[in-house]
Symmetry: C2
Subunit: 330 residues, 2 copies
Amino acid sequence: MKKLINSVDSVVTDALKGVAAAHPSLTVDVENKVITRAGGPTQGKVGLVSGGGAGHEPLHGGFVGYGMLDAACPGEVFTSPVPDQMLQATKAVNGGAGVLHIVKNYTGDVLNFQMAAELADDEGIEVASVVIDDDVAVQDSLYTAGRRGVGATVFAEKIAGALAEEGGDLTAVAAMAREVNERSRSFGVALSSCIVPAAGKPTFELGDSEIELGIGIHGEPGRTRGPMRPASELAAVALDAIAADIPLDGELLVMVNGMGGTPLIELYVMYEEVARTIAARGGRIARNLVGNYITSLEMQGFSVTVCGLTDQLTRLWDAPVDTPALRWGR
Amino acid sequence: MKKLINSVDSVVTDALKGVAAAHPSLTVDVENKVITRAGGPTQGKVGLVSGGGAGHEPLHGGFVGYGMLDAACPGEVFTSPVPDQMLQATKAVNGGAGVLHIVKNYTGDVLNFQMAAELADDEGIEVASVVIDDDVAVQDSLYTAGRRGVGATVFAEKIAGALAEEGGDLTAVAAMAREVNERSRSFGVALSSCIVPAAGKPTFELGDSEIELGIGIHGEPGRTRGPMRPASELAAVALDAIAADIPLDGELLVMVNGMGGTPLIELYVMYEEVARTIAARGGRIARNLVGNYITSLEMQGFSVTVCGLTDQLTRLWDAPVDTPALRWGR
């Protein structure tokens, strides 16, 4: 295993020190692993908190900032944060209008966020929770009961974050995150495994010309293994899986996401195939993201996330955002 | 070789179609491989053109937009673009105030940009050229006479682009790019090789615990091979090499750049070590970038680029920029 780290035990805290050093717009409690916007909570604004295992960067810490999250709490690599971290994040962003927890559907995350919500309630903070479960690949998996939560998390954090920024109340902001989740579906493909630092070896093994269709973001098995095939066919496989669940027509927000080890030139090749396939099925990609947004350490591969837009969703997507990993107009 | 492509021959054009589909702010001539800002040249503004082999994305196409480049022309993977492409780009961005070519110091790029400048001159367009040569690792290399041009290209494109945007004339904009280059040095480390699609196999081989110190962005050999070591030691090696050439004190702009296959969590670990090492030597990182900005396909590894700031450079660095890969306030 070759990784740019000091030791297996200190990967997450060392990286958090780097995040703190690189981004003066963030306040980082390295010891307790909580990232918040510098300057404390915004009074009267709903606070948005997300979290989950590390190893998916820039998710979630890279999305803390104006127009998106107020706080993120990473666990160890691919390990849920604990309720105390989530509670600390919740208290730190409470501006009196309540706090929304955006939770990817993995058993540990869901249980711990539930407990954190109860603890926050005990302290008089109103919390709403939305569980993201957009991955169409499998019903249950190694880490999950029900569908896994993946790329739609980025959309939900951006769009609900915009609504919170313009003054939406907790009920409305939670409903918006829920709507984004319901309108979104994802599918991922792995060309290679990731290596969890503490494990020191690949999570799974693939042959020289073998790929995993429907991969999870922790390397959980997908639907099937098969031979490598051209980008055009991979786009069709991913979009067929998504189209079985939601319509691909109308105005769409589409992300072609890299898993961490895939070069950008390949993601643009994939985007072209995804765009072409969607157009052929009568859809129009009105907004898009191409790049590494929700990763799996050094895994090679991609995922596609599709969200059916409404006028309101488009307007909130276009609203200003200013975070380390997503940024436009302000 | 597993890559998200349709065929080895169409990688660059397929990716350019993806760039065109993803970014309405850009106009892409896929056939001739020229990317320009949509809407044509800005009258009275110096035009900035860069280019070089593909495989380093987001460089250069991802840096076309307000406050940075006016055009980029990619060649095939790791292959110089031809003079005709460069001429087309030059003509497309000529707003009557002349055009600056920002050229990474690789023999093919330098010769072809020279020829393109002569052709543009024949058509009455004034062209200035700045050759970037910031890599301290080796004097001459597989592709270069003199030092290689790497990370400082990103800084030069941003800072000279800002000066052009605020009305600097061709002489001033070229001098600014030259000053950035003179004040900047880089050093790279590879943990794994890249695979050029047309070659179909790794450019070089490294043992399971072996790394290449001083790697070039095409996988050219560096200074030495050695055993893998902790991030803290790698930061010291890179900064020792840079400090032999430029002082590490004062206010600095520092980029910790991923080579394409390294996860962001590791780049933040490296950034922390780089920041700590620079602080110990009396420098202060006033501005930074952490991420994939000048890559080598799926290579794992990182590079560090350091630029000594002045008040003017800081001001121009902070000026608004709006490109697919670099974006802040406007």
